[in-house]
Point group: C3
Chain length 192, copies 3
């Protein structure tokens, strides 16, 4: 089909159509980009068992080491891993009972199986040291240095009456919304 | 390069190439859109412990409140949270034993640690009430109102001989395929 | 607007702009494609409880059956599900103690609740057989046939002194990096 001056308007029209399709596609791609997961791993640390908390920190430091943002949301028994001491003064009866019966720091966490009043936990720590595996406390320090975000669940803290001065430094505080904010944009989510 | 009438065919050809590139891109974007996760959170509730089931419902209602579709797939002990009573008539021996030894409603769920024959669970419920945190039953009601989908695992029900009239109303029934159907399109997946 | 030869350069310029926008979009789409999850499900199998390991394999075989790649990363107690025997010779004291106190094959796994020295596990196996549900061992075989990837955690093996000849055949060995490599590209991730 020979093209003449009088036929150029269709060319302009065709171009306008292309531009429109392109604009629509650009907006769809922008939408996809906005919704795509970030380089992020999010986990709930519900358990306060040494073995499970160890697994959480192995994954957290491993993910941070390969460039992922990592969010750890500590709730319920998981808060025991973040304690530096237990205080009883000013607490209600049940809060005091809970404090007395719970580990007062990561060093006192039991193992989930074969704990035998703490012997299992000591044994696991010894076996890890024998193989030159970092201790939980070293992994927590490493996580901190790698910028892993550690959030203490507000509701659990409130229910159990755990105060700021019972927890280690450098924590954020947040509710389930804080967890979800990170989890929904994550490439992997775990409940530990 | 001066453009003359005799050179317009290349312009048309160039445009055809653009149109073709655009069409290919549109189909790639459509493919990406089809595969992108929905606004959905899926979880397996395997545990029948009060503290873990509470965590599941806190996350479920929290996610529903920020506009996510939520699917909860209750399996094994998790089914205990959905019971309204235990019936023994018409069950096999092991099914009766399982029914007798299991909680017959969410109100009887134990806690995963320090349960002490139910005292731990009562203590946790009291501590939550003291801080005006909704009870598990209130959260379940809220989840229902927010449209959270609760599925009772068919295989677990079958193995344990749990019948329809032992479970609360408003549940869906489904197998692992039902869970996977939702989980594979989710932004976050959890095993609780 | 009449188009003449002298006005064609703008047409070529407009086309160049379109081409440039298209190229940018193509590169953004390629980036989205590279980052989108694969058809893959990844799980950590931390637990060595029969009921939880069963849940893991039900999900794994179900996912493989609908065309997903599946990666199972066995760590800590989860390794017990992969044992074929326990050996004591050549092990350190704690490693021997751990071996003696742990199940020496999937057939000896306890249940997480109401185990009563193994009676609970036998009861669950019997109830499953009564309803024609595959046994754990059959599911593991099925997983293998469906190409499910099973990885034995190197660090756990090292810490517990578990040797190759204690584990079933056909396993891969890997660390947390191996898990993350699959998990970050997965559509669903679970910690069991």
């Amino acid at each position: 089909m020979p093209v003449t001056d009088t036929e150029t308007p269709p060319v302009a029209a065709a171009e306008a159509i292309l531009r429109e399709r392109l604009a629509q596609l650009e907006s769809r791609v922008a939408e996809l980009e906005a919704r795509q997961p970030e380089d992020r791993v999010s986990m709930v640390v519900f358990s306060g068992d040494l073995d499970k908390v160890l697994a959480a920190f192995v994954i957290a430091t491993g993910a941070a080491a390969v460039g992922q943002e990592v969010s750890m949301f500590f709730t319920f028994w998981g808060l025991n891993a973040l304690k530096k001491r237990s205080q009883l003064a000013g607490k209600r009866l049940f809060e005091r009972m809970m404090a007395v019966m719970s580990p007062s720091s990561s060093l006192e966490l039991p193992v989930s199986k074969m704990n035998y009043f703490g012997i299992g936990a000591k044994m696991l720590r010894k076996m890890m040291a024998d193989k030159n595996v970092s201790s939980l406390e070293e992994m927590m320090e490493m996580a901190r240095e790698l910028g892993v975000k550690m959030v203490a669940c507000e509701m659990s803290r409130d229910v159990m009456g755990i105060r700021d001065d019972e927890l280690v430094d450098g924590l954020e505080s947040g509710g389930v919304g804080s967890f979800l904010g990170d989890a929904l944009d994550s490439r992997a989510t775990l409940f530990i």
